[in-house]
Symmetry: D2
Subunit: 506 residues, 4 copies
C-alpha cells in the first residue's frame, strides 16, 4: 500500500521547532557508570550524537558508598562521606564531555526511615530519618563537587529533587506532603549554599501527575518558593503484558501524549508567578519498562522521530531514557536484544532509535515545514535538511511516497544525500533473530551486527527547475530517512570525464 | 536484462582453487612507507584483509639514503651505508604484521653507470658502475637486516632481482645479457651469505615476456643456477588513451590473460630442471597506469573477482599492485579519486575492489564449484561460503539471477548472510562525483565517503527441503556478492516472541 | 650505618630458583572486573608485567547474577542461568591475555542453606541447600564457558573448590566434613564433564592449616580421589592493630613463613599417593587485610623481593593478592593510598611492590647466586641479570654495600644498567603525603604521582679485569635494585667523539 | 667546586619577563610533515609542551608539488596547482592544534630564474623567473587555504617572505635589491587579497644583519610599506669545526647575543614610523648546524634555560629551531643522537632541552626575580614557581647552591616539588653512549632511553618561619631545575598515621 503526499515548502515560513535533542540523556543508576561496557557505550553515543547533560537515579544509593556511619571511641554514631566512586564517575562524565543533571536520591539505607526498596538493586525509597542529616549529605556532596570541579562549573548543573514521588514504589505511600517537605528543605539548603544553583521538581510520572503539579505549585506559592523549573516524565505505551522475562506493550496515540504535555504547560501558566516556567521532561521513551522488545525495533525509531519533532513545543528539554543498555532495574538481561531502554545495545550495537537521535542532532537551519511525517529546515548554504518518517502503531504495510517541492534561488545542480534506517537497511534485531537469537554474541557476530546497524547512504544529483527542486522520498513502514540537499558546483579535474569512466552513453 | 543461471552443487566435487589472496600486496616505492597517510592506509588494509608480504620498488633509490659516498682524509672515495630510513620502514612493516618481498633496485645515483631514470621520483635504471660495489651494498643491507630482525626471520623474505628488465624504461636498453649478469652475480652473493634465502627473477612484464622467461631459464641452466622461483607481472587492459591527467583503458579479455599465464607455466615446465618451479606474479591489476579511473570503479571490483578465482591455478601467488594510493610514479595526484592502483583511496576510503579482496580473504573450506561468475566452498560447520560476481567489459545492463542448489545433511534452518558491493550499495566514486568531484575533501565528506564505502549486509532464513537449500542471488552488473550459509539453531529466551515483537500476523 | 658484603659468583653454580612470578595474580571479586578502573589497572599490569592466570572470589556471588530462580506457570520454582556478566568478564580477561584460575564460590543466596555472609559485599559462605543444584550450577557454567571459549582452552583453567574453609568466616563453622563433601561432589562432577580439568583444594589459610591439609589428604585417600594440586595461602604479618579505617601490622620473620611452607610440602610428601603433588599458593602478601598501609610502602617492596626469590622453592606457583586496588571487602576506600593489596593504586599509580614484580619478570638465565639480599642469573649473551634488596622488619638506617665479582669470558667493556626503587627514587606514598594526603587526586596530581612512581634508571661502563667484572651496588634501606650487565661493543659513527661532546678532558 | 648564592625575593617586585615560549617552534621542511615519525614526535611535543605556531622552509619546494606546469593542446605552457600534500600537512597541523607561521619559499624549479639550490633536499634559492607567476602562486595558495580552513582563520597565520636572504646560499648572491622587490611585490599581493594578513621580513641571520634590517626599513619607508613585523634569527655558537659527519661548535657568550638583539630593537625604534614594531625571532638555537652534538647535551638545556628567560625582553616571540629530528638539510642522519636541532630525538626520545621548554611552559604567575641563573614567579595560590639552571660554556665542575628566601603570608606548611634535569638524572646521550652508541635502536633500547629521559621528581615539606620559606636548591653543572612551592593543608583520613606507617620515631 503506497500513500502519496506532496508538500510545497514555503522557504520563509517560520515554523516553531525547538530542537533540543542533545540537551540531556538518561542513564542507568549512577553506580553503573563505574562499568567499562557502560563507558564504552557512552563514548560511542557521545562521539556520534554528543549530549550535554546526563541524568540517572541512585546518586545517594548504597553502592555509591557516599554516606557512611561509624562509631567513635565513645561509641557515638558519627557520619563521614566517601567520594571515591563519585569522583570516578564525575571524572568520567567530564571526559565524555557531559554535565550531570543531578537527581537527588535515593536514600542511603542508614539514613532511611524505612526499609522499602525498589528495583533489583534495592534503592531505598523512604524519607530520611533526619532531615538535618539529609541536608548535611546534600551540602557535603555539592561542596565536594565544587571543590573538585570549580564553583562556577557546578552551579550550572541542574538539580532535581527525588524521582517520581507520585508513585508509591518510588516514594513511600506517594506521600505528597512529605515530598513537599523534602523539596522545600532541600531547595532552601541548596540555595543557601549558592543561589545560582537551579533546583526543580516534582519529577512526576503518569499517575495523577496533573494534580501533583498543580499542588506542587500551590505549595510553592504558599511557601514563597521559586523553583527554577518543573520536571515530569513522558511515556507513550499502554500497560505491558508480561511473558517470561519480557513485557509486550502497545504504542499509544501520540496526540494524546502531546495533549497531556500541553495540560502540564497550561497548569503552570495558570499560575501568575510561574507562567512560562521551564518544563524539563527528565525521562521519556515509548514503554516505561526495561524489558520491552519494542525498544529495539525500527517501529520505535519511527515513532520517536515524530516525538522529537514535537517535544520541544511546550517543553525546554526532553531526556531519552536511556543512552545504553547497562541497566539493572529488572536484573541483569539474558540477551543483547532484551528490550532495554538504550539507544545502544550491549556490545555497543546502535539500535534503530539511535539513528533517529543522530539525525535530529545533525539538523540545522530555519524550520520551514513540520508535519506528522516530516520536518524540513532551510540551511545557510542555500539548501535544505530534513527528516521523514513512517510511524504506525500497528503494522499495515504502508509505504509513504513523499514529495517536497523546495524553492531555491538559482538554477544550478544539487546533490541529495539520504540516510535511511528501516527494516531492510538497518535492523539489527532481525539479523540477531536470523542468527538464532544468541544470548552470547561471538566477537564475529558482534562485529557483523555493528556493521549492519548503520544507515544506508545514497546520493542523487537533482537539477533545479523553475527555481524549485523536487525531492521524492519513499519511506518504508517504520522507516526514518534523513536528507540533505546541497548546491553543488562541479569542478572536474583536467581530463577527468566521469561519464566516460562509467561507460555511460552520452 | 536479466540472465538466469542455476548451479547444482556437488558437495564432494574437488574443484581446484588455490586461494592465496593474502600472500602479497604491492606498494608505492619503499621511501613512501615513511609517510603517515601511507601507514594509515596500510593499517586499515591489514586490519580488514591482512596480507603476509609486501613488495615495492626503490629499496636502493636515493630517497632511502642507504648508499653514501664520502671522501676520506686522503681524498679517496669511500662508501658507507645509512640504514636509518630502512629501519623506520621495516619496523613499520613488522608492526603491521608484514614481511617484505624484497625487490633489489633501483640503482643509487652514485653507484649507477648512467643517468637514465624512471618516474616522477627518478629511480635510476642503469646497471651498477661496479658489480663489486653492488654486491657489497646487497650484502651490507641483508646483514644489517639479519642483525636487526634475526637471521631465521630474514631468510624467509623472498628476494627478487630488479623489476621489469625487459622494458627499456626500467632497465637500460632492456639489455638481457646485462640483466642475466646482474641476476647471477646477485644470486651468488646472496646464496653465499645464507643459502636459505629464496631468490628469483626475472620480474618481466608484457613485452616479449615469454622470450625472456625462456632465455632466463636457458641461462640459468647453462650457468647451473637454481633460482627459487620465477616472477612475472600480469595486467589486463589495452593501451590507455591519455586525456589531461588521466589515461582511459579498456579491459581486455580475461581468458587471453589466463592463457598467457598458462604459457609461462608451460615454458617453465618444459625445462626438466625447473619443472613445477613456483611462479609468483609479483604485480597484477587491470590497468598498469596509476591514473586510470577504472581502478576506482565497481567494474574493476567485479573483474578482479574473476581474476582472484583463477590466478592461483598455475601460480603460487599474485600480488595486487597496490594496497593504497600513496604513490608518486606519475606525480602527486590532484584528487582523491584519480584512478590510482590502490585498494584504498587517499583519506583511507576503501574502493569497491578492496571488498573483493576482503571477500576472498574470508573464504574457507573445500571448493565445490568454480565458474566464470562464482566460486563456492563447503565449510566444516555444514554450510557454504562463496562469492558471485557480474563482470562485463562493457556496460550492457545485465543482471545475473543465480540459483545455487546446495546439498545439506540435515533438515534444519539456515541463515544466509550476504554482503553486496555494487554500483548502488558501495560506490564511493559516484558519491564523490555527486558531491562535485572535490579535490580537497572536508573531514565531513571524508567520513561520509568512508561510511558509504561498505558492503550492504543482509540476512535471510532459509529452510532445507529434501536435503537441499536453494540459494537465489541477484547480482547487479559490476556487482560482487559474498555469501555465507550457516545452520542455525534458534534458542529463544524465556518469553521472547520475535513474531509478536515485529507484529507479524501468524 | 653501612654494611659491606662481597659475593664471588661461580658462573657454573646451579642454584635452585624456580621463578614462576608471572603464573598467577589475585583480584578483587569477579564482579568488580566489570569496572573500568579495574580494567585500566589490569591493562597496565599486563603490559608491564604480564601474568598468565588470575584468581579471585565471588564467581557465583549474587552480583554476577548467574544463578536465577523463577516460578513457572504452575508456580513451581525453576532455575535458569544468566551468563551475561560472566561473558563480559571472561572476554575482558581474554583480551588482557589472561586465563582464570577458577575459584568455585561463594554461594548464591537462593541456593544457600543459611544467611551467613562475609565482607562489605556480602558473599554467602554457607553450604548449598542442595548439592544437586550446586552441581548443576557448576556444570552449566563450565559447559557455557566451553561453548564460548572452546573445550581445549577451558580445560586448561585450574579449578579450586571454595576459599579458606578452615576459617569460620569463609565457611560456616569451618565445618571440615561439610567441606570435604563439597570438594568430593564438585570434583567428581567436573571430572565427569571432562577428566582433563585440573581440580584442587583445600585453599586453607593460617588457622590449623597443617591439620586441614593432612586431613584433606587422608579423606582423599580414603575416598580414592586424586586431586590435581593442593592450594594454600601465605601471609607474613602479625595481627594488625585497628585504628580508624586502617590496620597496622608488623612484618613477621620471613624464615618462619618459609618453614611453614616447607611443612606443607612435607605433609604432602608423607603420603605415598600424593608425594610431589603440586602446591599452588593461591594467595600471598605481607598483611592479609586490605587497609594495611604497609602495602603501599617501599618496605613492602623490599620484603617481597626476598619472598619472590624463595616462594618457588617448594611450591609450583604463588599468586600475589592482588593486582590492583579496586577491591571492596572492607568497603570503598576513602583515599588512593589506603593500604590496599594492589600492585597498583587507584588512579593507576604503581606502588613500589609493582616494580619488585616487574624486576622478577625481567629476569632470565641460569641462577648462579641466591642469598637473603640478592639473586643473580647468568644470561645467554655472556652477561648477568639480578636483583638486590635491603629488607628489614624495622627501620634501622642500614645501607647495604654489595659487591659482586662476576666472571666473564673475554676482556671487553660492559654496560651496567640499574633500576632503583627506594624511598628516595620511587616512593609515591611520600609524595602523596607531602601533597597533604589528598583523598581526591586532581588530574595533575595523578600525573605527577604516576611520573614519580618509576624506577630511577642509571648506566655505567665497567671494564673486565682478569676475566672478572666487579659490580658495586649500594642498596638503601627498603630499596630494591634491578641490574643487568651486558657486554658492549662500541661502534662510534664517523667523526663522533663522545669525550669531545661532553668536554671531558682526556 | 660549590658556589653559594642567596636571593631574597621581594614578592612585589615587578620584574620584566615576557614568557612567550610556546608561541612558535621550528620544523624541518614542510614536506617532511608527511612523515609518520615526524608526526609522532610532533604529537609528543604538543601533548607535553603545546606550541601555537610552527614554521619551516620549503612550502613551495618541489616535493610539495604545488606548482605544476603542463602543455595544453596547442602546446602552450600552462600552470596548475596541486594542493594534495599541502592539505595533508595543514590538516595534520590543525589536528595537532598548531597554526602555521608561513614562510614563503623556496622557489619551484620550474618557476625559478636559476638552478642554485641549497641542502641535501635541493631547495631552489633563486628569484622567480616571473614575479607575476610568483604572485599567482602565492595568491592561489592563500585562497585555497582560506577556502579550506576559513578566511577568518587563515588571516591569523603570520607570513614571512623568504628565509635569510642576506646569505648567498639562501638567496642568490644575497641580492638585497632583488629581495626588496620580492618583499614589496609579495606584500602588496597579499594585502590586496585581505589586508588583515600580517606580513613581515626580512628573516635575516648573522651576516650583516643589522645593515639589512636598517636598509629594509629604509626601503619600506621609501616605498611607504608598513610591514607588520620584523623577523630575524639568533644562534649562539662560534663557527663549528667539521669532523666526519659532525660539526663541533663552542657556545658563545650569551650576553653578546642579547646585545645583538638589543641592537636590532634599537635600529627599528630609531625609525619613527616603525618604533615598537614587533620583532619575531623566527629561528634560534645554540648551533646553526643540524649535526652538532651539543644539541643533544644537558649543557644545551642549561644554556637555553637562560636564553628563554631573556629572549622575550625585546622580542615578541622566539621560535626554537626545531621541534624534532626529522630533518634532512645535511642528509639523513646515521644515528639517533646525531646532534640534530630537535627537542626530541628520532625514536621520540626527549632530549634535555625538551624539558627546559616544558619547564618554561609550566610557569605561571607574576615574575618577582630574574637573574642569570634563575627566574621566580609568584602564583595566585600564594606559592611560587621557578626555574634554576647552571649554565657554563666550558665544563668546570661548578655546583650551584642556591638559596631563595620566599616571603609568604601565613604560617603554614608548604610542599616543594622539584623536577631535575642534569647529567645524572636525565641524560639520554650518556645512556646511549654507554650502550655502545648503537645506530639502530632495538625496541627495548628505545623504551629504556625514553624511560630514562625524564626529569627526576622530588618533594619536600617546608615550614614557613617568620613569614618566609627558605628554599635551598643544588643545581649541578649543566643542570636545570624546575620547582613549585605550594601551601599544603594536610587532612589525614580517619586513623591514617603516616609517621607510623613509615616507622619514623617520634
Amino acid at each position: 500500500m503506497k500513500e502519496n503526499r506532496t508538500y510545497q515548502i514555503n522557504p520563509n515560513a517560520k515554523v516553531h521547532f525547538h530542537n533540543n535533542v542533545d540537551f540531556c540523556v538518561g542513564t542507568g543508576r549512577m553506580g553503573l557508570a563505574l562499568q567499562q561496557e557502560y563507558q564504552e557505550q557512552l563514548k560511542f553515543v557521545q562521539e556520534e550524537i554528543g549530549f550535554k547533560h546526563i541524568r540517572g537515579h541512585g546518586l545517594f544509593s548504597d553502592d555509591m558508598a557516599i554516606y557512611r556511619e561509624y562509631k567513635d571511641a565513645k561509641g557515638n554514631v558519627k557520619v563521614e562521606y566517601n567520594f571515591t566512586y563519585l569522583d570516578f564517575i564525575m571524572d568520567s562524565y567530564k571526559k565524555q564531555n557531559l554535565r550531570p543533571f543531578l537527581e537527588l536520591g535515593f536514600m542511603p539505607a542508614k539514613l532511611a526511615s524505612g526499609e522499602q526498596t525498589i528495583f533489583y538493586w534495592k534503592g531505598n525509597t523512604t524519607p530520611p530519618k533526619s532531615y538535618e542529616a539529609w541536608c548535611d549529605l546534600v551540602t557535603a556532596t555539592l561542596v565536594h563537587l565544587m571543590e573538585r570541579y570549580g564553583v562556577d562549573e557546578v552551579v550550572q548543573w541542574p538539580i532535581e529533587v527525588w524521582n517520581e514521588p507520585n508513585l508509591p514504589g518510588f516514594w513511600k505511600d506517594a506521600d505528597m506532603e512529605e515530598y513537599f517537605k523534602l523539596f522545600q528543605t532541600t531547595f532552601k539548603e541548596i540555595k543557601a549554599l549558592d543561589k545560582r544553583f537551579r533546583v526543580g521538581g516534582p519529577a512526576v510520572c503518569g499517575v495523577r501527575d496533573e494534580f501533583w503539579i498543580r499542588e506542587f505549585l500551590n505549595f510553592c506559592r504558599r511557601e514563597n518558593l521559586k523553583p527554577d523549573f518543573i520536571t515530569r516524565h513522558h511515556y507513550t505505551t499502554e500497560l505491558p503484558e508480561k511473558q517470561g522475562h519480557y513485557g509486550y506493550a502497545e504504542l499509544s496515540d501520540a496526540q494524546a501524549g502531546f495533549d497531556n504535555l500541553q495540560t502540564s504547560r497550561d497548569i503552570i501558566d495558570s499560575f501568575e508567578e510561574y507562567k512560562g516556567l521551564e518544563i524539563h521532561i527528565t525521562e521519556f521513551n515509548t514503554s516505561y519498562i526495561p524489558n520491552c522488545p519494542l525498544h529495539d525495533t525500527n517501529q520505535n525509531a519511527a515513532y520517536l522521530a515524530q516525538q522529537l519533532s514535537m517535544l520541544g513545543d511546550v517543553n525546554e528539554s526532553y531526556s531519552y531514557w536511556t543512552f545504553g543498555d547497562i541497566f539493572e532495574e529488572q536484573g541483569v538481561p539474558f540477551t543483547p536484544f532484551h528490550g532495554g531502554f538504550g539507544l545502544v545495545a550491549n556490545g555497543c550495537i546502535p539500535k534503530p532509535t539511535f539513528w533517529t537521535f543522530k539525525f535530529y542532532k545533525d539538523l540545522s537551519g530555519e524550520c520551514v515545514h513540520k508535519e506528522e511525517d516530516s520536518v524540513v529546515l532551510r540551511t545557510k548554504s542555500g539548501g535544505y535538511k530534513g527528516i521523514a518518517w513512517n510511524a504506525v502503531r500497528e503494522r499495515m504495510g504502508r509505504e509513504l511516497a513523499l514529495s517536497f517541492e523546495l524553492p531555491v534561488t538559482n538554477e544550478q545542480e544539487y546533490v541529495l544525500l539520504t540516510k535511511t534506517v528501516d527494516e531492510e537497511t538497518c535492523n539489527p534485531l532481525k539479523l540477531w533473530h536470523d542468527l538464532g537469537e544468541p544470548a552470547s554474541l561471538s566477537e564475529e557476530q558482534r562485529k557483523l551486527l555493528r556493521d549492519y546497524s548503520r544507515p544506508m547512504i545514497a546520493s542523487r544529483r537533482l537539477r533545479a527547475e523553475a527555481n524549485k527542486v523536487t525531492l521524492d522520498l519513499n519511506v518504508k513502514e517504520h522507516g526514518v530517512v534523513y536528507f540533505e540537499l546541497q548546491p553543488v558546483c562541479q569542478k572536474s579535474d583536467r581530463g577527468y570525464d566521469y561519464e566516460r569512466v562509467m561507460q555511460f552513453k552520452s
